[in-house]
Symmetry: C2
Subunit: 215 residues, 2 copies
Amino acid sequence: MEEKEISRAVIKRLPRYYRYLGELLESGVERISSNELSERMQVTASQIRQDLNNFGGFGQQGYGYNVKFLYQEIAKILGLDKTYNMIIVGAGNLGQALANYVKFEKSGFLIKKLFDVNPRLHGMTVRGIEIRLIDELPEYLQENEIHIAALTLPKANAREMAELLAENGVKAIWNFAHTDLHLPEDVIVENVHLSESLMQLSYNISRYERDHNKK
Amino acid sequence: MEEKEISRAVIKRLPRYYRYLGELLESGVERISSNELSERMQVTASQIRQDLNNFGGFGQQGYGYNVKFLYQEIAKILGLDKTYNMIIVGAGNLGQALANYVKFEKSGFLIKKLFDVNPRLHGMTVRGIEIRLIDELPEYLQENEIHIAALTLPKANAREMAELLAENGVKAIWNFAHTDLHLPEDVIVENVHLSESLMQLSYNISRYERDHNKK
């Protein structure tokens, strides 16, 4: 399974399959046909068959998919069969919101600490997770194995902080700052640019109005 | 300009051009060649030429792009030449974080109110924006023109709330709840699924480790 190359587009769709399969498992469903799954997910059955055939998760005709098997295979592909130690750099509202997501822990993302420049936050906790001063970060990273750092700092400080994280061995950054980070190639960056998402919304509103007014 | 159909893939890339062009404008740059822009954005110059040719924003050979013109054209396409009244439903950390982004206002997204079920938050403000009780929402929507609602509620309450918003005339929802909303076709939904973004990160970590260990 590990050796097979799966296309980027399929990978992008996997978390959604994973979510639906998880919900099915929770409600005790053991198998499901591509047609049923198609109806739930509002994706064509042929798209589902195509995507899931990557995992060899299809039984014989008429049986449908084994929900648990597929769920586990997708988890493996997404790296969710491991756990990741994570820190959050920037303990403002967004950093605290991330620390409050219990769901991340359930998927294996263990939030170990928050860090912030604000001395007033020092020693406070969010859902039991301690907030430390950013000055302590390099030493902390030397002493602890951290796989992922969520970067929830203002744009102005984000690049410098990302470099400091990379220099101290962090290999994956979840970047919420609205700027592109320039880091060594072996550092993985996943961006969440909220204002770009909002612009997709305004684009669609404008397009809808344009199409609507045309008629 | 309005009549031309631009591909979805280009639209997805526009906010990034918009950001870079805005930064250039701020630093007083009036024109830029595709090669210079290519270097800054780490995208090939031919990709840039292809993308931006959609806007007729290219001068003669050797002149390069007129930064301000392109910036304004992209703004129009993205619907950023208008303003949008926005509310945030769910005034927890994430809702408050969104309310604190001054940048949204600068792009024309005016945050009018936050709403929450928690009576303890009632009457409080975030950056001067009032938090109201969710019970008051239908009446508020009848009396005010709201273009966008950001939905920062837990999954369990999100669908029902989205339906209520749609019934009361909200035509665009910025959905942070980790669930698919089922709404009439004329309601535009833009999803921000944070845990799916995190899964792309763990996928890339796993893939990197796999590729690395193979060697």
